[in-house]
Point group: C2
Chain length 255, copies 2
């Protein structure tokens, strides 16, 4: 199941908030050259360009649909279809942004120092990753996968995600390379219309590896079971919404 | 033990970061009248004035030492010694800021709707509270208090703090009054020089109710035991610092 820009952007405001918070914490003032790794439909790139209007900005993403949407959104930026895993530009970059992408890439122990190595002196690596594999939203996704007739087809679905390590692990990983390392973990609480909205949210991201291997009828059945489980785990509040707690880890490492 | 502005400001950068994050999320654009409740030494007020330079800003704090320091820092602001608990100004205020203070005030169920009632239409109540009573820093503080010869004197020390409720509780409390409620919980990870620095950090805040009832010799003994316990709970990293994870709850409620 390819990434879909329109599905992803159904929750654009909520999905753009973390990159705004991330870039607000970047101490680098002068950015001449910047790259947005895993730019998606360009919403993160747009925040980057707004914060550093004089920077030369490029961006990559592995999805054709995302790159198409991003080019339409920001014609002045150079967007290219490429995998972050294979990205080897030596830089130097004053800012490397990796917003909501590295949790899909393995081997953080090798990856982050490599990215840090492409920074200029005083340059910043700014990373944000969903850290929600232990949330009910994702525990239930795995349970529905394991308990259904599709269990065999979905045996590897979870392997697409990389487990986000504790903050102190990342701190120790990048601190030898970077003078200043600012790490925080934020749980946003998104008010959503109901459990159906939670399904729609994750259809644009975490559910993809679970739905992609299934036939349409199986997908409908999977989503039905998942939605029922969500309705119990995220009960509607008397004020008429559900709150989706969504933890994310942020790393701002400045060389 | 009275509040000390100089002790509090030993970690000024780290202590000011949350109020910057808090005010960055306030959607209200035009603020004519604002108040900073529990302004401390004026570091939060300074961020408020910088964000809304045209606002008429006043501020209160319960500590004479804090008010003195705040007046020196910002001569143009009206600072007054007063308790947040007793504050009854009907407003309307376009912004009510309560940064790192409401965790010292009881009865949030009554307090927050009262504060919300003093907002103008479109005005925002912006709250940030340390949510660290379950962190090792505070569990150990209570253990050292309960296990020492001072246990009797410190029986009520913990009662000065109000337990911060879950995000969804605050959401339901203020949502009926406020159209837009944005709640998040952030754990900052402060790199500090060692367990001695953690002691110094909390000497300016959380340790106060535990040290105030003790004689100087007892205080030294208490701090020594506390520091030893911290050194185990927050081990020095190979990179030569300790990380202090510090969770805080943020509420931005707009009428």
């Amino acid at each position: 199941m390819p990434w879909s820009a329109s599905q992803y952007l159904k929750f654009e405001d909520e999905r753009t908030r973390p990159v705004r918070d991330l870039l607000a914490a970047v101490p680098t003032r002068e950015v001449k050259r910047a790259i947005d790794l895993g730019c998606g439909p360009g919403n993160s790139t747009e925040v980057l360009v707004a914060r550093y209007p004089d920077a030369r900005v490029s961006a990559i993403d592995s999805s054709d649909d995302m790159i198409r949407a991003a080019r339409e959104r920001l014609p002045e930026v150079f967007f290219e279809r490429a995998d972050v895993e294979d990205w080897r530009d030596p830089g130097p970059f004053d800012l490397i942004l990796a917003n909501a992408v590295l949790h899909w890439i393995p081997d953080h122990a090798g990856l982050l120092p490599r990215l840090g190595g492409a920074l200029s002196d005083g340059g910043t690596l700014a990373v944000q990753m969903p850290d929600n594999l232990a949330e009910p939203s994702h525990v239930l996704m795995r349970q529905v996968a394991a308990d259904g007739p599709w269990a065999g087809k979905l045996a590897d679905a979870n392997a697409e995600r990389t487990q986000v390590a504790p903050a102190s692990w990342y701190y120790q990983l990048v601190r030898p390379l970077c003078q200043r390392v600012d790490i925080w973990r934020t749980t946003y609480h998104h008010p959503l219309a109901g459990s159906e909205a939670i399904v729609e949210w994750f259809r644009g991201s975490g559910l993809r590896p679970f739905l992609a291997p299934l036939e349409p009828a199986e997908q409908a059945e999977f989503v039905g079971r998942y939605r029922s489980a969500l309705a119990v785990a995220y009960p509607a509040l008397p004020v008429g919404t559900v709150l989706l707690p969504f933890p994310r880890l942020f790393i701002v490492a400045t060389r």
